[in-house]
């Protein structure tokens, strides 16, 4: 070994981790090289100092805290305990808390401003209207001054000629809108899923509820 020993060689030499062949080479070199012996001394002093660093004894509370934690973990848990412990674990994570806070804040803002922005209209959210009383013969007679008879899902105006041609139109048809303008209460019946058959301008129309419109 003509060149100086590497730091890696000297380090492994101090730790007695050199392979036999390499060990012999390094030892031979160290016999002749003062410089490498000095470097080795320095490394040995450093390692010796590190190895003599005072070791600490674990505090006694460490064991007792661990015992308590393990006891909490292993005791039989009912549903409430499990939820509690899960919540406890979740609450330890700041990212989860901040995410929940953001979601909550966003929901609150949306709720507060929903009314003023009239979001229901903008988003076409169906609005619940007061529902008419259960359909009865008496009630039907009151609608727009016309009398209707119920035939299953169809409310037929009384007195319509049988066998006459019927024009089926959706509730959004202009003719249907005219009828509904005259008799707004019919909207409730269409909303309830009934089709309404009536005479309008010498034509017999069957206004289909919006879901059933072709």
């Amino acid at each position: 070994m003509s060149r100086h020993a590497t730091a890696e060689d000297l380090s492994a030499y101090v730790d007695q981790e050199l392979e036999p062949v390499r060990l012999r080479l390094v030892e031979d070199h160290l016999e002749d090289c003062d410089e490498c012996r000095d470097r080795l001394d320095g490394m040995q002093r450093l390692v010796g100092d590190l190895r003599r660093l005072k070791r600490l004894t674990p505090p006694s509370v460490l064991g007792s805290h661990l015992h308590r934690r393990i006891a909490l973990q292993t005791r039989p848990q009912n549903l409430l305990d499990r939820v509690e412990s899960r919540l406890g674990r979740v609450s330890l994570q700041p990212s989860v808390i901040s995410t929940f806070a953001l979601v909550f804040a966003f929901a609150a803002i949306l709720y507060l401003f929903a009314g003023s922005l009239d979001l229901q209209e903008r988003l076409r959210i169906p609005v619940l209207r007061p529902y008419p009383p259960p359909v009865s013969q008496e009630a039907l007679e009151q609608i727009g001054g016309r009398s209707f008879l119920q035939e299953g899902g169809l409310l037929r105006e009384e007195g319509l000629p049988k066998g006459a041609p019927v024009t089926k139109i959706p509730s959004t048809d202009p003719r249907a809108l005219e009828v509904l303008q005259e008799s707004p209460d019919l909207v409730y019946l269409l909303d309830a899923g009934f089709a309404v058959e009536l005479e309008h301008l010498d034509e017999i129309l069957r206004i289909l509820p919006s879901e059933a419109a072709p």
């Binding site: 590497t6 730091a7 890696e8 000297l10 380090s11 492994a12 730790d15 981790e17 320095g42 490394m43 002093r45 450093l46 390692v47 010796g48 100092d49 590190l50 190895r51 003599r52 660093l53 005072k54 070791r55 600490l56 004894t57 674990p58 505090p59 509370v61 460490l62 064991g63 805290h65 661990l66 934690r69 393990i70 973990q73 292993t74």
Partner: protein, 214 residues
């Protein structure tokens, strides 16, 4: 744990002297303890803790630099070990496995902070780190204590990968093979990393102010 050590008396042959075998003479292996833990023996983990608490606590202390932090870290490490001990397959020793759990946990915790606890030295810096024998007289002990502080501060300045190998090799006394197992790297990597870490440590010790040494 603790308590009275059970003894077993062997049946005697005619003319044979009475003999008693203490269970203390046959220490239970770590693998047996793990097996007992799997079968639900609560005392088995206590024994594992007793055997390895000092080792894990000192690892945590040297990596974090603070005793309170080390206590928290060690508690977390043992709690993790308790929960995941069933995953221990026995391919490595329990000691190596615990070191791996400890190191991974310390890495993840210490990565979140950029600071390191360093004891504040008192007095005036006058001399470099010249090694002195740890004699029993108070002056030598005081110097040794101050040198410990200097080494501790130098360790704190080492980048974590280098600090890890120095702690495992020089302070915990692991072989290169064991360190390779703990870190999950090849022995060659361990060898070069230790050499580089010692080189860096030497440079740090030579350049940093030696507060506290007389």
């Amino acid at each position: 744990m603790g308590g009275e050590i059970p003894t077993f008396s062997l049946p005697l042959e005619r003319g044979q002297m009475e003999a008693t075998i203490s269970s203390e003479a046959i220490p239970e292996s770590d693998r047996d303890l793990v097996q007992r833990h799997r079968y639900g023996d609560a005392e088995a983990f206590d024994e594992i803790y007793q055997r390895h608490a000092e080792m894990i606590y000192n690892l945590a202390y040297r990596l974090s630099g603070d005793e309170d932090q080390a206590s928290d870290l060690a508690q977390e490490v043992f709690f993790r070990a308790f929960r995941h001990l069933e995953r221990f397959r026995g391919r490595s020793s329990l000691k190596t496995w615990l070191y791996r759990v400890g190191l991974n946990h310390c890495r993840s915790r210490l990565a979140r902070r950029r600071w390191f606890f360093v004891p504040v030295a008192e007095g005036d810096p006058t001399e470099g780190l010249q090694l002195v024998d740890r004699r029993r007289d108070p002056e030598a002990r005081a110097m040794a204590g101050e040198r410990d502080q200097i080494l501790h501060r130098a360790l704190a300045k080492l980048p974590l990968p280098f600090r890890e190998v120095v702690v495992l090799c020089d302070l915990e006394g692991l072989t290169y093979e064991e360190i390779a197992e703990v870190l999950g790297v090849r022995i060659g990597t361990v060898r070069s990393r230790i050499a580089r870490a010692r080189g860096k440590l030497r440079v740090l010790l030579d350049t940093m102010p030696q507060e506290g040494l007389p």
